[in-house]
Symmetry: C2
Subunit: 229 residues, 2 copies
């Protein structure tokens, strides 16, 4: 015999911070809501979790519905459950982030019904956000600031082939400070996770830089190490 637990039913949602790197700036994908509450406000993409999917699956689904992108690693970072965070009742939200390679077209699918539009917005110029999404964003940004020092997540924002200067830009934008070029290159190369492609950048009107690729095989060496710039 299986007893039925006494239940207080509530609802779960997932909210995602999708980070992208474009024109030298860190951006996130925001949607303009088309429904109450917070109609016409900007918000993090999110949705309710359905019955037959895990939290991770739900996060991937939301990403896919919004961008058409699949197979991207998303990481859960905090669950927001304050009373009153949602005006319509008790909705607890599990927050995820992902780092995306933005293609030229920025990979946005036609927007689904719940949003009027979606845009990549510079994190330095965020509008007022719906619900407690500003808080969620703040915490997510702190998370990747810590994360980037230990894990090779910076590569995930860049095209497959990238220059050391581009990589340094990612670090500088996320950490919010300038880094020394020589020390950065020395240290980054010392990890032995970059493969020199013997290939040069194209289409620039100055000396072309060497292209590198992130070498997954050597990935493990970075784990747990503090990278301090």
């Amino acid at each position: 015999m299986i007893e039925v637990l006494p239940q207080f039913n509530s609802t779960f949602s997932i909210d995602c911070i999708l980070f992208g790197f474009d024109e030298g700036e860190l951006k996130i994908l925001l949607i303009e809501r088309n429904e109450e509450p917070f109609k016409d406000w900007w918000a993090l993409p999110g949705n309710l979790v359905s019955e037959n999917e895990s939290l991770d699956q739900s996060a991937s689904r939301i990403l896919h519905e919004l961008t058409g992108i699949e197979n991207v690693y998303m990481e859960q970072f905090y669950t927001f459950g304050d009373i009153g965070r949602h005006p319509q009742g008790r909705i607890i939200s599990v927050a995820y982030y992902a780092m995306l390679r933005l293609g030229g077209d920025k990979a946005l699918k036609p927007i689904s019904n719940y949003a009027k539009q979606a845009h990549w917005i510079n994190v330095k110029e965020l509008p007022k956000l719906a619900f407690d999404h500003q808080k969620i964003f703040d915490q997510g940004l702190e998370k990747i600031k810590r994360r980037i020092k230990h894990q090779p997540i910076a590569f995930e924002l860049l095209p497959e082939k990238f220059t050391l200067t581009q990589l340094q830009n990612v670090y500088e934008v996320i950490l919010g400070k300038k880094l020394d070029k020589r020390n950065f290159r020395k240290k980054m190369l010392s990890f032995n996770v970059l493969k020199d492609l013997n290939e040069k950048q194209k289409g620039v009107s100055f000396r072309a830089a060497t292209l590198y690729r992130f070498d997954k095989r050597k990935y493990g060496k970075l784990f747990g190490k503090e990278i301090s710039f």
Copy 2:
């Protein structure tokens, strides 16, 4: 007009890892369940979240009901939402940990109805745990291993007055490795967060060690610094 969102109702619970340090060992509080499912199994203390409390409040309540302790800082670390993690349906669990100062009596209140007994159990000798609680524990332990290197959480496991050797023991037990005594003391004192009480340990049959107290005023200095042993 406020629309009603389409809802899939599910239930969520809080599970807590309560860490304690006793007899030189790291322990956690486990309860023996008195109800199906997993009747007679050991489990992390947990409970359903009620309608009028935030996640943090719920975690504090569970701690209080079980131990009588109040005003302890608990930290949320992950939310577990795999399908099938609970045999009776969709129950998502938000996991917290706390570090407790174990008094002589270990501060256990009479056990509430849902458990037969509760015990402090050495983390090296854990029994099989109910649900996915082993996974929750593993992740919680990893969390404090990382945390102890950046934040002064080790002090929270010790009595207010403690010796450097006791403090080193906490680090050794959590990190799972021996540390060099001279280097440990040098580094720990260099943070300037320990106040020398000019007072000696009592009741030992050998040279008594100096007692220290954690100095909250200097707390900030530790933040963000990597402590490597």
